[in-house]
């Protein structure tokens, strides 16, 4: 399909903030400007927490923006977008309706003659490859077939815009690949009623495989980091150099520091100015070991492909390793630092000590906890105190996640201990946390 100038969706200075239970506001989207034109596929790519699902839902008309407007064909949305249909990550099929009833549901909502509805539904089921399964229930279908029903339900309405929220991430790799290929075949054919597709993904290869434009979103607050045009011909070859170059570039965009944004140094940052990445000690140590085994330097896309990790699994580990100065990250490549080498080569007790030193100096939240414990009268504090501190800068779930990570790292490093019954963090006397002049 060729791109023409017809603008279907216009997102104009859209910001979205959520108010928490205690009255704090969390800015999820910050001044987003976006146009979706007929004839193009746009991918919204970003890590978890970057607001890409929220942005998709504002386009769908499910969430209203706090400021700014979303227009469909010039008209501002005040409810569900009449020209859009959505395919969900978890399929969102009604389990008590058969395949045919599920596909007909949108048509039933629009009214129309029952015979006509049945004919159209059967045609859509046929197009998507589920002929023969009309009277099956979703429980009887595999994941790939359920998603096909989701596609049929969306496409039978002949929407202008097809929105997809991580449609293939709940499927196994082979089924997902199969469905992607079929979707592209449908898109290239003449009978496809949809004019534009917008999909949310956290799989970089999927974005490059499917999209004409990839929009990279960054978190805290969610904003558009970069926009990339993919001008490769379809069907796209994963092994071609141009493809690999684009994937590399995107990894660099997602792991690198944004130009114009200065992040405070780990040794000086406060807990709210630099977030703690969601990484376990085991995952972090494993990543450092893999880089060590490859001779001290590795390419992030290679590691992701080899471990079959999504960016939401791998990038937090990369961030944590960079924060603790065990790996050096630059434009999609990882390099082992001297600390990292020492950490990997040492025995358990020594590596714990190295970890403890790094975490105490470079992880802002752990540093703050240690300082506060040192300043307290009995070396023990309520964990809720730190949670409140984090809530000033992050949403409730994010804050809890960071606190859990800090407690996990602190326990491994034998710096402090946590009692879930009393919600108390208690300094470990042997760690030297509660001593007058620390760090």
């Amino acid at each position: 399909m060729t791109v023409n100038d017809e603008v279907l969706i216009n997102v104009d200075h859209v910001s979205k903030s959520f108010t928490g239970a205690v009255g704090d506001t969390l800015l999820v989207l910050d001044d987003i400007n976006l146009d979706l034109r007929a004839g193009e596929i746009v991918a919204l790519l970003g890590r978890s927490g970057s607001g890409k699902s929220t942005l998709l839902r504002t386009i769908a008309g499910l969430i209203g923006p706090t400021s700014g407007s979303v227009r469909y064909r010039g008209e501002e949305l005040n409810g569900a977008n009449p020209g859009a249909a959505m395919v969900f990550q978890t399929f969102a099929l009604m389990p008590w309706l058969t395949v045919q009833d599920n596909v007909e549901l949108g048509l039933a909502a629009r009214g129309g003659v029952p015979a006509d509805r049945t004919a159209r539904a059967l045609k859509a089921i046929d197009m998507i490859g589920l002929d023969g399964f009309e009277s099956a229930y979703p429980k009887e279908l595999s994941g790939g077939m359920r998603q096909r029903v989701g596609f049929a339900r969306a496409l039978v309405l002949e929407p202008d815009l097809l929105l997809m929220d991580e449609p293939f991430s709940a499927l196994d790799v082979l089924t997902a690949e199969n469905l992607r290929t079929e979707l592209m075949a449908l898109w290239a054919g003449e009978n496809f009623p949809t004019r534009a597709i917008c999909l949310v993904t956290h799989n970089i290869e999927e974005a490059v495989l499917l999209a004409d434009r990839v929009i990279v979103l960054s978190a805290n607050p969610g904003h558009i980091r970069a926009e990339l045009r993919v001008e490769l011909d379809r069907p796209r070859d994963r092994r071609s150099p141009a493809f690999a170059a684009l994937v590399d570039k995107l990894y660099g965009l997602l792991t690198g520091v944004e130009p114009g944004v200065t992040e405070p140094e780990p040794t000086e940052a406060t807990p709210t100015s630099r977030a703690l990445p969601n990484a376990t000690v085991g995952g972090l140590a494993g990543l450092v070991e893999i880089v060590y085994a490859r001779g001290g330097s590795a390419d992030i896309p290679d590691i992701a492909a080899e471990l079959n990790f999504e960016i939401d699994d791998l990038l937090p580990l990369v961030d944590a390793a960079a924060l603790l100065d065990m790996l050096y990250v630059s434009s999609g490549d990882l390099e082992l630092t001297s600390v990292g080498k020492e950490f990997t080569a040492a025995d358990i007790q020594t590596s714990k000590q190295i970890f403890a030193t790094q975490v105490r100096t470079r992880a802002p939240l752990v540093r703050t906890i240690c300082k506060a414990l040192g300043a307290s009268s009995d070396g023990s504090l309520r964990a809720g105190f730190f949670l409140d501190l984090l809530r000033r800068g992050f949403g409730p779930e994010d804050a809890q996640q960071q606190l859990d990570t800090a407690i996990d790292w602190g326990r491994y490093a034998e710096l402090f201990d946590y009692d879930a019954d009393t919600d108390q963090i208690t300094a470990d006397p042997a760690a030297g946390v509660v001593a007058p002049a620390t760090v």
Binding site: G64, W96, L105, A109, G111, E140
Partner: protein
């Protein structure tokens, strides 16, 4: 388009084959049901006045089947009303933001008010509503049963509306379903399983209130409706113990019959609404449902009804789309909130003022103190009941729950015990008390426990059978001594179920106190000191002020106990002892 060859999955080929004998069975059953309903509705409209109302029913055993059928009809009428109430109330509470803040606390309070306390207030009202016919009394009885079923079902439906999977909600909004369509295609099916289970539990509890409401004295009049509860009351007054036993047998048959013919097929059918991707480990099976599925009749009836769906959908589109506008002016919203809050405040303030004034002028506010003291006595009984029931039934429940063979036999028995109306056994216990000379102050505890303790047993069995096998194997491997096995494995594991059972048992005990603290047999009446007796006496005397005081004080006790004790326990059990 090119596609991979797909084959039908195993489940798709597994539908049961149709069978003519099933058709015959279903036809006969449906015909019998229709005849019964017609007969009963005919006899419900005999002329009747307050002065000439029969104070009791005949104890002729030949009348018993008819009475039993009348009672059953009342139960199902109340169930239908509860269902309609549930749909409207829960939907309003879940969808209207401002209404939710009032409706849910109101429901909480209503749930704590003793049901039989409602009865005395409403009987005179209903009789006045239907002068000249017995319908007023019937309505009061149905209302009493309704109040025992509706709150539970409403809470469960509200809970499932509020915790709907977010994606189903988004999908239905994007598909632009109308409110009517969304209710029938999403809201109701997604809440069906908890609703059916709650309905079953509440229905079982309703038998108690049915029998308590069929024969009572209000305002110095004795009323009796044709029904099995009135039969037992009449037999007990006449000292005919064998007739009471006969009624007990008939009641057991009825409870089991309703279970097999109605509730089990319903719960088995409701499995199709399970939202989780995989089937439940032990799907309930039902013979009745299998017969219905093999018969052609439901399908032939369903087909012409199915043609109605489309025009009804069109007609009900007047309710609007299941959407809410994204942009609302914050000023308008705040003004609306203020107005709503002000109106509510005025209503509540006025209501409280009138209630206090009424109490002050009729019986004086000092009565509240008296009622509080009596409540303390009843509270003591409830506590003793709970402690004894715990010590007795927790070990039994754990033993049954850990033994799959025993629990398969015991589950239906305990289910029947839990729904069997305890007040049927009251005459038997009263005879024993009269014979042994034990005061009702102690014996009342036994009477109250007859209905309430089964909930503890029931829930502990469920909790014990849900203990994961690997925990039990680990305990066996470590060769834990008895004491440690109990303290470290069993008691923590069944704690959440125990708390659920305890809350229900406590509520049931309070309700039972109203009928357990005054009992009579063959003209002899035993009375205990307590709040239940206070309310009963006030009802019989028609003393409005005392009724109000007693009911309010009992509600305060129940709400206080719930908030201060049971809610805390529940929070602890969720935080520390949940197995998920």
């Amino acid at each position: 388009m090119v596609m991979l060859r797909t084959f039908p999955t195993r489940g798709a080929l597994d539908r049961p084959t149709r069978n003519i004998s099933a058709d015959v069975v279903v036809f006969i059953g449906a015909a019998a049901l229709l005849w019964l309903i017609v007969r009963l509705v005919q006899s419900a409209s005999i002329p009747w006045t307050v002065e000439h109302a029969p104070p009791s029913v005949s104890t002729d055993p030949a009348d018993l089947p008819y009475y039993a059928a009348r009672s059953l009809l009342r139960m199902f009428a109340a169930l239908g009303l509860s269902l309609i109430f549930t749909f409207i109330y829960a939907t309003a509470a879940a969808r209207l933001r401002r209404a939710e803040k009032v409706l849910i606390p109101l429901l909480d309070i209503l749930q704590s008010v003793p049901i039989l306390g409602f009865l005395s207030v409403t009987i005179t009202g209903f009789i006045a509503l239907f002068p000249g016919s017995e319908l007023g009394l019937e309505c009061a009885s149905i209302f009493a049963i309704f109040t025992s079923q509706a709150w539970n079902m409403t809470f469960s439906f509200y809970h499932s509306l509020v915790s709907q999977p977010r994606e189903l909600d988004e999908a239905s909004r994007l598909l632009r379903l109308s409110r009517w369509q969304r209710f029938w295609r999403l809201d109701l099916p997604s809440g069906m399983i908890p609703l059916v289970w709650n309905g079953m539990m509440s229905f079982g509890g309703g038998w108690f209130f049915l029998t308590a409401s069929e024969a009572l004295s209000v305002n110095n009049h004795h009323f009796a409706l044709p029904g099995i509860g009135a039969y037992v009351a009449a037999a007990s007054d006449g000292g005919e113990l064998n007739k009471v036993l006969l009624a007990v047998v008939v009641m057991i048959v009825m409870v089991v019959g309703v279970n097999v013919l109605f509730w089990r097929p319903l719960t088995a059918w409701a499995e199709r609404f399970r939202v989780e991707e995989s089937e439940a480990a032990e799907a309930p099976r039902s013979l009745t449902l299998d017969v219905l599925r093999r018969s052609n009749i439901p399908r032939t009836i369903g087909r012409p009804l199915g043609l109605l769906i489309y025009p009804i959908d069109r007609a009900m589109a007047v309710f609007g789309m299941a959407e809410h506008p994204l942009r609302t002016s914050p000023v308008r919203r705040r003004v609306g909130d203020w107005v709503f809050g002000a109106v509510m405040g005025v209503l509540i303030g006025y209501g409280t003022y009138r209630a206090v004034e009424y109490i002050a002028t009729t019986v004086g506010l000092g009565e509240v103190g008296h009622a509080l003291l009596l409540g303390l006595v009843t509270f003591g009984r409830v506590v003793v009941l709970l402690v004894v029931a715990t010590l007795l039934w927790v070990p039994v429940g754990v033993w049954i729950g850990l033994n799959p063979r025993v629990s398969r036999l015991a589950q239906p028995v305990v289910q029947v015990l839990a729904s069997f109306p305890a007040n049927f056994l009251f005459p038997l216990v009263t005879v024993a008390l009269l014979a042994t000379g034990i005061s009702l102050n102690i014996g009342g505890i036994l009477l109250m426990s007859l209905g309430a303790q089964w909930y503890i047993l029931f829930n502990v069995i469920a909790g014990a059978s849900a203990i994961p096998n690997d925990l039990r194997e680990a305990a066996a491997n470590l060769r834990l001594p008895r004491m440690l096995w109990w303290r470290k494995l069993i008691l923590p594991a069944i704690f959440p179920s125990y708390v659920t059972g305890g809350i229900t048992a406590a509520g049931g005990a309070w309700n039972a106190s109203i009928v357990a603290e005054i009992v009579s047999y063959h003209g002899i009446t035993l009375t205990a000191t307590g709040l239940g007796a206070y309310i009963r006496n006030a009802t019989e005397a028609g003393d409005g002020g005392r009724i109000l005081v007693g009911v309010i004080v009992m509600s305060v006790y129940v709400v206080a106990m719930n908030r201060l004790f049971w809610r805390r326990l529940y929070a602890i059990s969720e935080r520390r002892f949940s197995l998920s």
